[in-house]
Symmetry: C2
Subunit: 324 residues, 2 copies
């Protein structure tokens, strides 16, 4: 039997988050490309969160959560589990606040992301990739340190922080018809929905999900929270399942989950690379991938796309231009 969920963050929470993170986070630019507009048959507004600090939107939520802590809680430090960008984001936010961070990281996480976490001075505790082992090790660290858990997405402070990206985008790009963001655990999509639907409910908001990790798509379709799928996708940032909280927010507000294959993600990455000169990680190209796949749906419309992150693993980077 579940206890009822608390109310989700309001627009006021997102406004407060925007003010709280303003001294630390970048207002990322909105990029455009005539060439990609032609390919998509739509006018695209790319919110460049791969240029956010730590190279991903995750800094927004982490920063809002860390700077929401009162002094006593902050003094005990912060604990999180993360396959990468959220871990780095917590590490940097804690460094900026001058408090301890411990990040539980699966052993198969990309090296570049581990290095970033370490560089920001956080303690890394390895675990097995299974959610069960992540939770076990996280609980252990929490018991040892008495620290504050900041979950990558199942946390209203994190959701409010992620909502600041769309909040900014609506001020940067006028008259959008739709916004598309990647969905994994649903923190970014939840924050986007809460911001956008409060400010202008006429704007459609879609989640973009890999075919090989389509739990949000399946959950909304079947109207029940599915948590037993095994992800199989190159999008290393999009392998989590929704939580009860994010499933509930998506169920209430989301206009749909759109899917694309790993090959379509690769094509989107290549287009961003060649036509826009932007380096995005697979998860970061997810939203463009679905917009290109669902060409008819977006034809002639003004579409916001969140480029959510740019942290490629070193193995990919070393094969990149300039190293041939």
């Amino acid at each position: 039997m579940n206890t009822p969920l608390p109310d989700p963050p309001t627009l006021a929470c997102i406004r407060n988050a925007a003010a709280r993170i303003a001294p630390f986070a970048h207002v990322t630019p909105v990029l455009g490309s005539a060439s990609l507009d032609r390919i998509a048959g739509a006018t695209l507004f790319f919110k460049a969160e791969h240029l956010q600090r730590v190279g991903a939107f995750k800094f927004r939520g982490a920063c809002n959560a860390v700077f929401s802590l009162d002094a006593a809680r902050a003094a005990r430090g912060v604990v999180t589990q993360s396959s990468g960008n959220h871990g780095a984001a917590i590490a940097l936010a804690c460094k900026l606040r001058g408090i301890r961070a411990t990040v539980v990281v699966p052993r198969n996480a990309p090296q570049v992301k581990l290095a970033a976490i370490r560089d920001f001075g956080a303690r890394i505790v390895p675990c097995d990739p299974s959610q069960h082992d992540r939770d076990r090790v996280t609980a252990q660290v929490l018991a040892e340190t008495g620290g504050e858990l900041i979950h990558p997405f199942d946390d209203p402070r994190v959701i409010a922080g992620q909502g600041t990206a769309a909040f900014e985008l609506l001020h940067q790009a006028a008259a959008l018809d739709a916004i598309v963001v990647p969905v994994s655990g649903g923190g970014l999509l939840s924050g986007t929905l809460l911001a956008v639907k409060a400010l202008n409910p006429a704007i459609e908001v879609f989640g973009a999900e890999p075919e090989g990790a389509a739990d949000a798509w399946q959950s909304l379709r079947q109207r029940r929270h599915i948590t037993d799928m095994s992800p199989d996708t190159i999008c290393d940032g999009l392998r989590a399942h929704l939580s009860e909280r994010t499933f509930s927010i998506l169920s209430d507000h989301c206009d749909g989950i759109l899917l694309a294959s790993d090959d379509e993600v690769r094509t989107a990455m290549r287009l961003l690379f060649e036509r826009m000169k932007q380096v995005v990680e697979p998860s970061g190209a997810m939203a463009l991938a679905v917009v290109l796949r669902e060409r008819e749906r977006f034809a002639g419309r003004r579409v916001g796309i969140v480029l959510s992150g740019g942290n490629l693993d070193h193995s990919a980077v070393s094969a990149a231009p300039g190293h041939g």
Copy 2:
């Protein structure tokens, strides 16, 4: 015996160029990176000309030249020779004006650049890579078509156009101490010098040149125009020699040419890729490479860096992330 050179473009020419190209060219953003600032020990302002149309600053000069033509001259079409970005820039500018373009291109030019020129509807005429054969074929095409030659850099309209990048940068980034731009034929550096020294002579302006194509460095050092060096560098956009005109402008105004090796350029490309998520071609990373090499010179200063282009060859792109 040389005829005396006409006066170089004035600040008024550069202002006019800015107005002339405004309907067609992007005002490119100025990017920053806390991480690169730490590495450089300076505050860096990256003028993102790799996000300019055709992916390079070359569009500025080409567009200014093409839209400077009177109707009668325009009707006969434009001819140029270019190893790449200038050719694409002329092709697009002519397409925008609705006139014919013919581009003489060495057979070893990067495929991605040839494709761009073709996509813009220009006629491509291949030649051998030697300057002698380029000139021979160009003269032949000019005789056949009666068209207008627009040289990649030895042209005051082109120089004035290139000067608009620094002109913009000075309005976007306050209180710069220095500006560093790559130098090849010297069009960008000349335009930058004429704009910056007219607006604020206290700002130092440096050219950045590959060790393997150091004719500008050698020419300024020996105070004579050297034209007989054989370039050996990965920077495919930086293999030309100065012209008499650009040598003269550099001699009058330039604060120095700074060198970096191909390895230093690769490191700069990698840093731009990893830390700033930006795709630049080797020539485009040249200015950052010298700023990182000459760390003491720039320590603690506010430095403008022109990222001049982002057009990597397909062979490099296909080895890039997302294709592993």
